[in-house]
Symmetry: C2
Subunit: 490 residues, 2 copies
């Protein structure tokens, strides 16, 4: 392992970049704005996918696949949608290269597309154009479809996982006979995301609605989960949109209802992306590297032998094999690292950097005493424990670690949540401890925009369970009936 | 269900298109050459992915993700590679749209890329450009990485699953310290594919090497599995390439070996795609629709109630629930279709079209007799059986069906495999029963090309276990030491 990380207090952003690199999660590619997700980072994404995919299926959804390319004309059909995405689209204009005769490969100008194709930034338009052929009557509804895919949004300033030109995500697109059903779906999927964030990623989230300014381009309502990072900046971790009949109208998707009348179809869409890996890193990790909640860890337990000579290694390996088989029987993922090319200290630092929740070290004395050394990544505490009942102990410890990581994140959020009543205090809090700032707002986009321009803070959401409370907008002094949640955000 | 299918003998191609549509597998999208994979078709792909992914992991591979876009200059670095793919590349030239002021969305000409980006048709170039940063010493080798991704090859004449502009696939890209190791990997993955095709898809395959003409652009050797469809046309179902040091040289990827000397790295790549779904359909299905081997069936057993009135339905449902829980306990996937909007006959036709291996019908008399009606999709035979031990019976039947479907495909291949010794016979066989034609060939690309031009047959492979046998090329009469396998192919 190379030298340690820049500390979070020294330079949070630098700390993040170094961690992503040193924990072998991802790297910038030679293609501007696009990342390479390395095997260890991708293994975390696979864990996320497996859990989410099961949740989608448990709630009645099926996967499907729609084209990567969207004809430019489709894009223009929903006015606010195209406004939202037009400035960040990768455009395919040709379909052939050729040799120019001097050994250079150039674009073949005779192979120009009649209509340009957009690389999907999101798939509402191509999917609703398809649904038109699938829906005639209420019997064809609901359609509950999800897609795992790559999408492209041209970004000028990128950050690994958090903001990249290409990223991986899932996008659910559902079609319903009634408004109520579409809204219920939108809310259901928000709850699926919140459950995943809190109970799997160990990241507490606020559930809320976006203001008009922050809404998805084409939605009537955008629901979101908002997480708070250790530096006090917010991160939108997932969104679920109630699309009304906007896309059904744009693509002329109608159905005959139970009463025999023809209506436009109601829609939702919802997505989370590889951005979640960024959230996972920034929510929990420390100056020694990644800290992973056990449920998201590709390797939950690593065993490192500390030995002198082949004979001792063999004995340790026998013990390690027994422990591994006990752990695997409990569904715990475990790796035995008996590489002879690296010393134990190097391995310790490597697994610390990679956030493996538990490390077992076995040395000669341990063999004699029937013990192992057990080290927790979250607390960095070590203890020597008996081999007797070790798998059971570890199973409980992993549960405890999962809970502890969540509790720490919850505490961080509590400490960084502040109620303010004046614009003065608002700015002070943003510049000192940052975090979620609960403040009154007059409900107008104009005020929100001005506050954003002056402070870089946006309204992250209006929490779903928001208590009503009379007050005055911190910016205009106009009356308000509830506080909303402001923050600077990733 | 709408009317039946065109029969295979009447018009095989039409039969295939209708089946793909009526079994709800896929459809053409509004984007030329791109398909929509519908939920039922995608569920088959998910089954394929799950099995293959596990096999890749069991053989030591990890998944990762590399950019969708490849800079044009990367593409040009390996000469035969660019020759192979240049004429079918989607090219991104701009990264922004804008409103022209008259309400039209147009490409923003000020947002032109300095260097065009190619939408990946395959990822050797971008991946080897990345591996350069990962490899310094033999300790960094081997790299055993796979990627599940979408790729684009611009096709003028498309066919759902078999040949589309965009398709889904996996591409393995491995890096090794020695030639022997890279070749061993190439062969190992061919065997993984063959095992999957035969023991999961129930499609017998020939394992062989491609001739120089049919080799992957940039490979030293292309290994393949070749399957035979019911109409006697061959289908390449998977390829595994030994790339030598070609890409390492093109991207300057070197390592220090155990002896301290600097060498170029050795490579393999291997892939299968959604094309496999086309192979699955054409290998087994009949004039009544899809026939799925149980191991690839999203639904293995469907239960249809036949009832008069709510009361009877309730009793049948209780029986059905019991059967379902018994089957699920054995890991068998089962669906209970109690829709009241469709009659049993409609449902029977639907599941027949969709290739569900076993259908259980339960009526009033069955309740009295403690029986069910069990129908096999592969043989279309029905029998009334006791509820007693039903799950066990079904478990065995599914194994039997899997084997029966494989045996049928094997018989088809045997019947359509012919040895010929003259060009006259060669053409006669191709035009009468088609299939695999084993014939002597003089080993030159020129002869292969002429035979292809005259007959549309290509050399599918030189089988790996090919017996040596002296003979004379059917085309030139020159001496030959072994027969190769010719066929017309998809």
């Amino acid at each position: 392992m190379s030298k340690g990380l820049t500390s979070r207090t020294e330079d949070y952003s630098q700390w993040y970049n170094e961690l992503v690199s040193k924990a072998d999660l991802a790297e910038h590619s030679s293609v501007k704005g696009c990342m390479v997700i390395k095997p260890y980072g991708y293994a975390i994404w696979e864990k996320m996918q497996a859990v989410l995919d099961q949740k989608f299926k448990d709630t009645g959804h099926s996967n499907a696949y729609f084209p990567l390319f969207i004809p430019k004309s489709f894009f223009s059909k929903e006015a606010s949608h195209v406004d939202g995405f037009a400035t960040e689209c990768a455009v395919v204009t040709h379909y052939r290269l050729k040799n120019d005769g001097n050994g250079n490969i150039i674009v073949d100008e005779t192979a120009k597309l009649e209509e340009e194709l957009i690389v999907r930034p999101t798939s509402e338009t191509i999917i609703w154009n398809t649904y038109k052929g699938w829906i005639q009557s209420y019997r064809d509804l609901p359609i509950l479809v999800n897609q795992w895919a790559n999408v492209v949004r041209w970004e000028m300033r990128t950050r690994l996982f958090l903001r990249t030109t290409e990223f991986l995500w899932q996008e659910g697109h559902t079609a319903h006979a009634t408004q109520a059903e579409a809204i219920a779906e939108t809310e259901q999927m928000l709850n699926v995301y919140a459950d995943f964030a809190e109970n799997w990623m160990a990241v507490p989230v606020l559930r809320g609605k976006k203001t008009a300014n922050e809404r998805f381009a084409g939605a009537l309502d955008t629901y979101c989960i908002e997480a708070l990072m250790q530096d006090g900046k917010a991160l939108q971790a997932g969104t679920s949109h109630f699309l009304g009949q906007n896309f059904a109208k744009a693509f002329d998707v109608k159905f005959t209802n139970r009463e025999g009348k023809i209506e436009h179809v109601w829609a939702s869409s919802w997505g989370v992306s590889t951005r979640l890996i960024g959230a996972l890193i920034m929510a929990h990790s420390d100056d020694f590297g990644l800290v992973l909640p056990p449920k998201m860890a590709p390797i939950q337990v690593v065993i490192v032998p500390i030995y002198k000579g082949e004979e001792e290694l063999e004995k340790i390996s026998a013990t390690a094999q027994q422990i591994m088989s006990d752990l695997k029987a409990k569904g715990i993922s475990v790796k035995y690292d008996n590489r002879d090319t690296q010393r134990p200290g190097f391995k310790f630092a490597e697994y610390e950097m990679k956030g493996v929740p538990l490390r077992i070290a076995i040395g000669g004395r341990d063999l004699e005493n029937n013990t192992v050394e057990l080290a927790r990544r979250d607390t960095r505490s070590k203890e020597t424990v008996s081999n007797q009942g070790l798998a059971h102990l570890i199973e409980n410890l992993l549960t405890e670690i999962q809970q502890n990581i969540f509790d720490k994140a919850l505490l961080n959020r509590a400490e960084k949540s502040t109620r303010v009543d004046t614009y003065e205090d608002f700015k002070k809090v943003l510049d000192s401890k940052a975090g979620f700032v609960y403040a009154h707002w007059d409900g107008t986009p104009e005020t929100e925009t001005k506050i954003k321009e002056e402070t870089k803070a946006t309204i992250r959401c209006i929490p779903l369970d928001n208590p009503l409370e009379n007050g005055f907008c911190i910016y205009t002094g106009k009356p308000s009936t509830q506080r909303v949640v402001f923050a600077r955000a990733y």
